[in-house]
């Protein structure tokens, strides 16, 4: 099949826009709340999720005809868990500071409903190249939301914008001291989990407005 015919585009675009796993299917919320305190954490988490999602989709799609359906959930879980463990080990080796900050949430990618969901709903029914695109699309859809949320949480909560740099993070921008002297204050609530809910709610609202999606028709 061609890689970029209209069907492939739809597979990638849908989960980013009209069928976003976080904002429209409301999956993977727990990690979206936990790793969105700083932008660099969200970016590394996105890359990890995209890697796991694409690989698990492709692997499961390749063996889909051979998996006995009685044990398919077990097989899916072991493939996903192994991939996540590999990512965790690599982070500990090459991005130690980041892996300390993300701590348990890397391991918890295993329980991210998006990954199991895509494996069950898509990878087991489609060929490897489509499954790969589906993984990429959903990973990007997930990443887009947590990157937007973390951008606002870090900017207004901590007053900085941090990019990943292999160490403790590169501070791209921080609110000048003069602003604080003039009475500006960070919104401490945004650093806590409820802050993520507020931002996420606003993102969901905006996205539904843009695509004209109505609830309960």
């Amino acid at each position: 099949m061609e890689l970029f015919n209209s069907e492939s585009k739809k597979i990638i675009n849908d989960p980013i826009n009209v069928n976003n796993p976080i904002s429209l299917q409301v999956l993977g919320i727990c990690s979206a709340l936990a790793v969105t305190i700083r932008l660099d954490q969200a970016i590394i988490m996105t890359l990890a999720v995209i890697f796991v999602l694409c690989s698990s989709n492709v692997i499961l799609s390749l063996i889909r005809d051979y998996i006995p359906s009685r044990v398919r959930i077990v097989i899916m879980l072991s493939v996903i868990a192994s991939l996540v463990s590999v990512v965790d080990e690599l982070l500990q080796a090459y991005l130690y500071d980041m892996s300390k900050q993300l701590s348990v949430f890397v391991g918890l990618i295993i329980t991210n409903c998006i990954i199991m969901g895509r494996a069950e709903a898509f990878a087991l029914k489609n060929g490897p190249s489509k499954a790969f695109l589906d993984g990429l699309g959903n990973g990007l859809g997930y990443g887009m939301i947590i990157i937007i949320v973390s951008f606002f949480r870090e900017l207004f909560g901590a007053g900085t914008i941090t990019l990943p740099d292999g160490g403790a993070g590169y501070v791209l921008f921080s609110i000048p001291e003069a602003w604080y002297a003039a009475g500006y204050e960070n919104i401490g609530l945004l650093v806590l989990s409820p802050g993520a809910f507020f931002i996420l709610g606003l993102v969901i609202w905006t996205q539904r407005e843009i695509f004209g999606i109505e609830e309960g028709e």
Binding site: R70, V86, Y94
Partner: protein, 237 residues
């Protein structure tokens, strides 16, 4: 429907392949991970000793190694304050109570601080850290907690600067010169209390973690009392 034998065989093969993949990955990155862990411990010793990371020279593993080798002298003492042989990396800072590691901050041949490991139970987990004293073996120079499994946002706040900064300048010796450690209060320190130089503010919602920190500081620093007394009597280290 597949036969039972097929199902078992399939699961077995998948398990073997995935297991191989995992052990292969682990085998390849193990050395690097251990190196990172060691560098991280050194980083925390440096932080407790009040070395400050600068923006022009961020603390990569190599930089940490260099500063540590240049400015930190490490050795072990026993509970009587005598020097003993040890392999620092193998000393179990949680359980070993016979061999006590000491890290001296030496800048231009002048000793500026003494860091020792501390560890003990918080609420859920063992909290690990380093506390550094000034050469008078009384005033706290800095403290760092680097490993714990306390609740993020509550007990987990022990590693945050707002909490550890409160220790700086506090005294670990009582008026009659006994090592009594630092008490973590429930609530705020009342500065009019003469005892307040031995106390720091607690963390709201983490009273048990605070109590734990206070009690292991007292216990662990107590083991070094003979050594601290020697340092103080000699005036040299």
């Amino acid at each position: 429907m597949h036969s039972n034998n097929y199902t078992l065989g399939f699961v077995f093969i998948v398990t073997v392949i995935l297991g191989t993949l995992l052990s292969f990955t682990k085998e390849n990155v193990r050395d690097l991970q251990e190196y990172n862990l060691k560098a991280d411990v050194k980083k925390n010793i440096l932080r407790s000793l009040n070395f400050v990371e600068t923006e022009s020279e961020p603390w990569s593993n190599e930089v940490v190694e260099r500063i540590f080798n240049k400015n930190v002298q490490a050795f072990c003492v026993n509970t009587n304050g005598d020097f003993v042989d040890c392999i620092l990396e193998e000393v179990d800072t949680e359980r070993n109570i016979e061999v006590l590691p000491v890290y001296l901050k030496v800048v231009d041949n002048k000793t500026e601080g003494i860091a020792v490991p501390v560890a003990g139970k918080g609420l859920w987990s063992t909290v690990f850290g380093y506390i550094a004293l000034e050469p008078d073996t009384d005033t706290v120079l800095g403290i760092q907690f680097y490993k714990h499994g306390e609740t993020p946002g509550l007990g987990g706040e022990v590693e945050k600067a707002w909490f550890t900064n409160n220790f700086v300048g506090k005294k670990i010796r009582s008026n009659d010169d006994k090592v009594i450690g630092i008490e973590v209060l429930k609530g705020k320190v009342d500065s009019s209390n003469p005892y307040s130089m031995h106390q720091v503010d607690g963390i709201s919602g983490a009273t048990v973690t605070g109590k734990g920190v206070g009690s292991f500081l007292k216990e662990d620093l107590g083991r070094y009392e003979s050594y601290f007394n020697k340092v103080r009597a000699d005036g040299t280290i």
